[in-house]
């Protein structure tokens, strides 16, 4: 897999800086898995719901770690938030991602939403709305691989892989093996800014 900067920031001179490499991501996810287990008393009644696309892969990895540590599987699903976005009218209609709930559903469970980057908080807001239409969890928590700040809504993450102070002109790209052929978190910075 070749990373194309031109693709990330078209027509812009840019610097690229790897914030996390594969082993860093792995360590962060292991740590988050432990934190989830601590905060949920051994992962009882936990459902991991990834937000497509990369959140779903991260949720599966977390579930894998938890299973390794505790010996029992954690239900994993995906929660597409497209239809709940507040910025639909800024672009042509977007293709839908998949919503797939575990067989036992989410009612009275502790749902941990999993996303790759926490930024404005609008995605999480949409996810909370989407979740409310699907059932009534006992509690909802949030895990993000990267928290880059600049929240526009009163939302915070319960589990963070890495806090990454950024400026708004920077772009954070998460690459995952399952999707992109390689694990990395990149910070793309435009020249002169």
């Amino acid at each position: 897999m070749v990373f194309s900067l031109a693709e990330a920031i078209p027509h812009a001179q840019s610097h690229v800086h790897a914030v996390l490499e594969g082993p860093d991501i792995n360590r962060a996810l292991i740590r988050i898995s432990h934190e989830i287990l601590e905060r949920t008393k051994g992962g009882e009644d936990v459902v991991l719901l990834g937000i497509p696309t990369r959140g779903v892969h991260l949720a599966r990895r977390l579930a894998g770690h938890i299973r390794q540590f505790e010996g029992h599987p954690v239900p994993v699903g995906s929660l597409d938030i497209t239809m709940y976005r507040d910025d639909l009218r800024t672009r042509p209609a977007r293709p839908l991602g998949r919503t797939e709930l575990p067989a036992d559903g989410i009612d009275d469970r502790t749902v941990v939403l999993v996303d790759d980057v926490l930024y404005s908080g609008r995605t999480v807001r949409a996810a909370l709305d989407a979740l409310a239409a699907l059932g009534r969890p006992r509690a909802v928590q949030l895990a993000a691989l990267v928290d880059r700040g600049h929240r526009e809504l009163p939302i915070r993450a319960d589990y963070v892989g890495k806090n990454l102070p950024t400026s708004k002109s920077e772009i954070v790209k998460v690459y995952l093996e399952e999707n992109d052929g390689r694990d990395a978190v990149l910070l793309l910075k435009e020249d002169g800014k």
């Binding site: 009218r89 209609a93 977007r94 293709p95 839908l96 239409a133």
Partner: protein, 304 residues
């Protein structure tokens, strides 16, 4: 996607697959506790029905409402709105009301094309004269895909009054786009003289086509055709082109039987065939809502 959905020919292969994939995702959430999605909040969809078609109107209405659009039903049947002059006046009224989409059913072929020239919103053809009914073709393709998987190379046989059927026209176009092989079967009187130029095969002999069919789609025979010398008698039509138990027995095990409804049981399709496990007739209705949701979402769910 284009701004309007007037003909199945408006859809590229990618467009058609996007609609079917979107419908797939929507179907996954259609059985949940709260069916409504907020996506089209603030959008206005007008159902403009110049012909009675309760089932199609309800299907579009349910689709729009599940997406939280405001729905206005405008039934022109029986009112003074029967001349074309009024179609334009109606269009200007809808325009003034700020309709984001107009779903139109009209007895005149091409009425949606005309409407599209007079309104700014998207026009969705819900059946025009003897021309097309593209969302029916989409829900049919969706139904086939759920039962059979990819339509590439699948053999679809469409039987009946092709000449006057908007369902047949839209299906031939869409299925050709999706790579299926369509065979039309009808008495020669109920085929357009130019059918040889369509992207499909034509046969007058249902029995010879059935064994290789993956899908058999029966078209409704309209009452008014029965007295217009298109065929001698209902009995003869039913014998030569009706789908009865004996004919169904010639189908392979996975083959399915479809009908856009409403059916003439005992005429083009035997009751026991319509109610059999091969029949997708009830699914087609349910799939209609999901498919139309997908269409409305893709037309109105972004910047328009």
């Amino acid at each position: 996607m284009k701004r309007h959905l007037i003909s199945a020919a408006d859809l590229s292969r990618d467009d058609a697959l996007l609609i079917l994939d979107t419908a797939d995702e929507l179907a996954r959430i259609s059985d949940r506790s709260i069916k409504k999605l907020p996506t089209l909040r603030g959008r206005t969809v007008v159902n403009l029905f110049f012909e009675d078609s309760t089932r199609t109107r309800i299907s579009f209405e349910a689709a729009a409402k599940r997406l939280s659009a405001d729905v206005i039903n405008f039934s022109a049947k029986g009112s003074s709105v029967s001349k074309g002059e009024s179609l334009k006046d109606t269009a200007l009224t809808l325009e003034a009301m700020g309709a984001d989409a107009v779903v139109i059913r009209h007895g005149a072929s091409g009425a949606p094309h005309r409407l599209a020239g007079w309104v700014r919103g998207s026009v969705v053809n819900a059946g025009d004269g003897t021309h097309e009914h593209p969302t029916q073709a989409l829900l049919d393709a969706y139904t086939m895909r759920r039962r059979l998987g990819s339509l590439e190379g699948r053999r679809v046989t469409v039987v009946g009054d092709v000449l006057h059927s908007r369902v047949a026209r839209s299906n031939v176009l869409l299925l050709a786009t999706l790579g299926a092989e369509v065979t039309l079967v009808a008495p020669p009187t109920l085929l357009p003289v130019s059918v040889g130029s369509w992207p499909c095969e034509v046969s007058y002999d249902l029995d010879s086509v059935l064994p290789k069919s993956d899908v058999v789609m029966m078209l409704r025979v309209q009452r008014e055709r029965m007295n217009a010398a298109f065929f001698p008698t209902e009995r003869e039509y039913s014998r030569r082109y009706g789908l009865d138990r004996d004919r169904v027995a010639r189908l392979h095990d996975e083959a399915i039987v479809m009908h856009p409804g409403p059916m003439n049981r005992g005429m083009e399709i035997a009751a026991e065939v319509a109610d059999s496990a091969r029949s997708t007739i009830v699914e087609q209705v349910a799939n209609g809502v999901t498919t139309r949701m997908a269409v409305l979402y893709l037309l109105l769910g972004g910047d328009i």
